[in-house]
């Protein structure tokens, strides 16, 4: 293939791949990736991934097998992204008022690695179509279809999809803090108990089925609920005030889960909305109903 013939597939793949990465790079309330430097790092990785995906097929078509092999080796470097993200998040975890937990961190790290591969896929499809058909618009269409398929996969389930939520008052039985009769923690200081009674809010998270019940049993999933709710609604906690850490505990009789939190913003409806949008973590998801014993034993 001549130089000019290589330009269209490589440019098409590169541009579409970079656009796909930008569309997948959203800085939301979780502030991850951090803006602007974290965003720039991931955008740069995305452009490199798009370049790799767009060059492989034209290189093979031009019988440049060494270049193609080299590009495959480069693609293997993207597995380091997961390790890099995990290390970065672990470093700041001890300084978080409400930590994310290892499941959430692993989920974020895995997602960023996967997105690089998805960008390679979009670029690969675009440049392949343009290389073999010569149709630039066809290549763009193929890249866009791949991207939208990927985009649909991106959004996983949320807590609101698997559970019913209710906001309730917290109560004390002696020094035991309870939400819907489930013991959450023991609060020794009188002033702290008064603060809880004045400003604390309980959330009952009732699983819709046995799969949801098994997923919500995960400590990592519950820690993610506490972290995300605190990130959105704020929490009246600081160093030296461990008794105001939002905790999520399980009712061992029914499998439902309750959270006790002292939010900065006491709006109950928005607290429920915040809990609803917490993502179901891949590492925490369980599906006993997909097994025969689980299905037969189901209520």
């Amino acid at each position: 293939m001549a130089g000019a013939e290589l330009l269209a597939p490589i440019a098409g793949g590169l541009i579409l791949g970079a656009m796909a990465r930008i569309a997948l790079l959203q800085v939301d309330y979780r502030m991850y990736p951090s803006y602007p430097h974290g965003w720039l790092i991931h955008f740069a990785w995305g452009v490199i991934a798009a370049f790799v995906g767009s060059v492989v097929v034209p290189a093979l078509a031009a019988k440049e097998f060494t270049a193609a092999t080299f590009l495959v080796l480069v693609a293997q470097q993207f597995r380091d992204i997961r390790r890099m993200e995990r290390a970065s998040l672990d470093l700041v975890e001890s300084m978080e008022l409400v930590p994310r937990g290892p499941h959430y961190i692993e989920g974020i790290a895995r997602t960023f690695e996967a997105r690089s591969y998805l960008v390679i896929a979009v670029s690969l499809v675009t440049s392949t179509i343009i290389t073999f058909t010569g149709h630039i618009l066809g290549g763009i269409a193929g890249g866009l279809v791949t991207f939208f398929l990927v985009f649909m996969v991106k959004r996983g389930q949320r807590i609101g999809d698997i559970a019913e939520l209710t906001a309730v008052d917290v109560e004390f039985e002696g020094t035991l803090l309870k939400v819907a009769n489930v013991i959450v923690m023991e609060v020794g200081l009188r002033k702290s108990r008064e603060w809880w009674l004045e400003r604390g809010i309980g959330v009952i998270i009732e699983p819709k089925d046995d799969d949801a019940r098994a997923t919500l049993a995960s400590l990592g999933q519950r820690q993610a609920i506490a972290h995300d709710t605190a990130a959105i609604m704020g929490v009246t906690k600081d160093f030296g005030l461990p008794e105001f850490t939002p905790l999520v505990r399980r009712d061992i009789e029914t499998g439902r889960v309750v959270m006790a939190i002292v939010p900065m913003e006491p709006d109950r409806r928005q607290i429920l909305a915040a809990v609803e949008r917490v993502p179901v973590l891949e590492a925490a998801r369980r599906a006993p109903l997909q097994s025969e014993p689980g299905l037969k034993a189901a209520d």
Partner: protein, 64 residues
């Protein structure tokens, strides 16, 4: 009474000297409930430890 270490007990505050045995954590003796409450608050804030009431006049501060 024996105090068992669950996570890390960093301090014990008690109204009753006989209610607490050894164990390694510093033991602080309070004269009354108000003093116990004040000392527990100060120690919990400075050590980022949680105050738990054992219900027999003893507060333990635990680092979770």
């Amino acid at each position: 009474m024996e105090i068992r270490i669950v996570e890390t007990i960093v301090c014990v505050i008690t109204l009753d000297r006989d209610a607490v045995g050894g164990g390694g954590a510093p033991i602080v003796y309070a004269k009354n409930e108000e003093e116990r409450e004040r000392m527990a608050e100060v120690l919990s804030r400075t050590m980022d430890a949680m105050v738990h009431d054992l219900g027999n006049g003893v507060y333990v501060l635990i680092k979770h």
